[in-house]
Amino acid sequence: MLTLNYIIRRLATAFAIVIGILVLTYILIYLSPGNPAYTWAGRPRGPKAEEAIKMAENELGLNKPLYIQIYIHVNRFFSGDWGLSLRFKQPIIVVITRNLIASLELLIISFSIAVPIGIFLGVISALYRGYLIDKILYLISSLFISFPRFWIAIIFSVLLQSLGINIFGRIAPDYTLSINYVTGSYIIDSLINGRIDIFIDVLIRIIPPSLIVALYPTALTIRVIRFSLSEKLHEEYVKQAISFGLPRNKIVYKYALRGIIPAVSQLQGITFAYSIIDAATVENIFNREGIGSAIVKAIPYNDYPLIIGLLAVTGILFIIINTISDIIQVVSDPRVRI
């Protein structure tokens, strides 16, 4: 079973990595060629440029020794004072929470589509290895892995436009003012407000992009399950279950599949990190808010503070996801806990 010792050690490692990411972001600021304050202020030009650079220098504390600068940077992060976004003219923490929730909504829905379908198709593919259905599934999965998701999204959006269906954006413009802003995720907010019409509208708008984002994790899950389940089916305990005369579904889903939960959960943790790029590109095509749209808006303005904040926050998000997948791995497979 899961020991407290392991959890504490895992959390300590996660915390060390959080600190590492924050220090790394500061090193990125510090090592930028030329004056770091100039980059931090967004490469200003014009009459007020010197003033802006002075302010940035004060914010970063550049006249102090390096370890104190790093200490100030880490401290500012934990107290929630991340500065002001140059592009959005809002506190960075507000901008990031808004965009991160929008992206997470998309990613969570696409993963809850991808994982069951991927496991089901992967089991079929492993059981009928070498047969026609396995070949078809192989072709489909390699197409979905290799085709760039933004290209599929472009084709999809062109098709939708030619059919005259307009489901771009996160929510219909008429509804934006008639909803109370509670969590930032429109799906939950509409349910809290008790507006079923808004809920359906938001759900219809989120499903096409999340289906496209789901293609990659589905395909990868099919491949990994095909690979590892064929191995598991030759093990002794599966043979024993077969000799007991248990039904096939029970053998596969209850015994054999249990052995590959660690591999699958680790895979999902990794794929989540990769899929955020897909989410970023698909968001741009479907005109949704999110991390990708925030980056696209930040780059032309040289909005360096926002990008550094995003780097820290997405890094921490991945740490949380990886820690969860590690704990799932330990619960299902005691051998990992060493």
């Binding site: 290799s146 085709f147 472009i154 436009q161 997405t314």
Partner: protein, 313 residues
């Protein structure tokens, strides 16, 4: 003996014979190799003589302005017999831009893959075959860099260094090399328990000698096959980041990078679909070829994956 090492152990043949055998007997490898070879030849053609050389490199010529009258829709020419894939917002021929951009995509992908394999093997071997403190430090660094999202790191490099291939390549090397480092580390930890390493240690060979003479040659082929399978994901990741740069750009982009052309064309998607469609098609076909190539190789290493079996229960 450990399962991972045992699974991948196979008889050593000369690489040329392996290659010819794969071409003859493995259909996936054959198709993938043909696609990748075609794209490489197209990239060479794009460097030597694309239909409109200057337009391919992003220069708006006077011809481009004159030629706009030939097709019915101006200035975005539809795909026609004069311009197979149409023209973009400045009247530049898209086919030449795609052909010129082919070598950029290949160069970015290959440089990322090769550098991250080299760095990853070096880091993984040092981490797996050193004392415990160095091992701890290296595994910490690996975990740290695996966590960092490549997209945001690339955006940070773009604001620091400037827009261009170098920032994307740098970001991807930093995020892909820890993968190979971790894989190498796992393999090395299994290898160092085996007899031939133990014997070398007992004979008193220096550790660096054992590392590079005995461990690296055993690890490198497996990492190499893994990297070829991953290369399609690397290509899609590079083009996705370039897509974001293209979508962020306020003015038209001169550099004929595939991802950037697609990303820049997204703003015209409602009316002029071909700007984004054709470069994306090329990305998709190249990535598909690469994944077939990698699968063919991994089928060679673990042939039981291909074998048909009877469901006997």
């Amino acid at each position: 003996m450990n399962s991972y090492v045992k699974r991948y152990s196979y008889r050593v043949k000369s690489p040329i014979r392996v290659f010819l055998g794969l071409l003859r007997f493995n259909r996936k490898f054959l198709i993938g190799f043909t696609i990748v070879l075609t794209i490489s030849i197209l990239s060479v053609i794009g460097l030597i003589s694309p239909p409109y050389y200057l337009e391919g490199w992003g220069i708006v010529t006077e011809d481009a302005m004159k030629r706009q009258g030939l097709a019915p829709c101006i200035p975005f020419n539809c795909p026609s017999i004069y311009h197979l894939f149409g023209t973009d917002d400045m009247g530049r021929d898209l086919l030449s831009r795609i052909l010129v951009g082919a070598h950029l995509a290949l160069i970015q992908m290959v440089s990322v893959i090769i550098t991250s394999i080299a760095l990853g093997i070096l880091m993984g071997v040092i981490a797996g075959y050193s004392n415990i403190y160095i091992e701890k430090i290296f595994t910490y660094v690996m975990e740290l860099f695996i966590i960092i999202p490549s997209m945001v790191l690339a955006a940070a490099f773009i604001t620091i260094i400037g827009r261009g291939m170098q920032s994307v390549i740098l970001a991807l090397i930093l995020t892909w090399s820890p993968w190979y480092a971790r894989l190498t580390y796992i393999l090395v930890r299994q290898l160092r328990e085996l007899d031939f390493i133990r014997i070398c240690e007992a004979m008193g060979f220096p550790r660096t000698y054992i590392m590079f003479r005995h461990i690296v040659p055993n690890v490198a082929p497996l990492i190499f096959v893994e990297a070829i399978t991953d290369s399609s994901s690397v290509l899609v990741e590079i083009t996705s980041i370039n897509f974001l740069i293209g979508a962020a750009s306020l003015t038209s982009i001169d550099l004929p990078d595939w991802g950037m052309i697609v990303g820049y064309g997204v703003r015209y998607i409602r009316t002029f679909w071909w700007i984004s469609f054709f470069p994306g098609l090329f990305i998709a076909v190249t990535a598909f070829g690469l994944i077939l190539l990698g699968d063919g190789l991994s089928e060679y290493i673990s042939p039981w994956l291909k074998r048909r079996w009877r469901l006997w229960f």
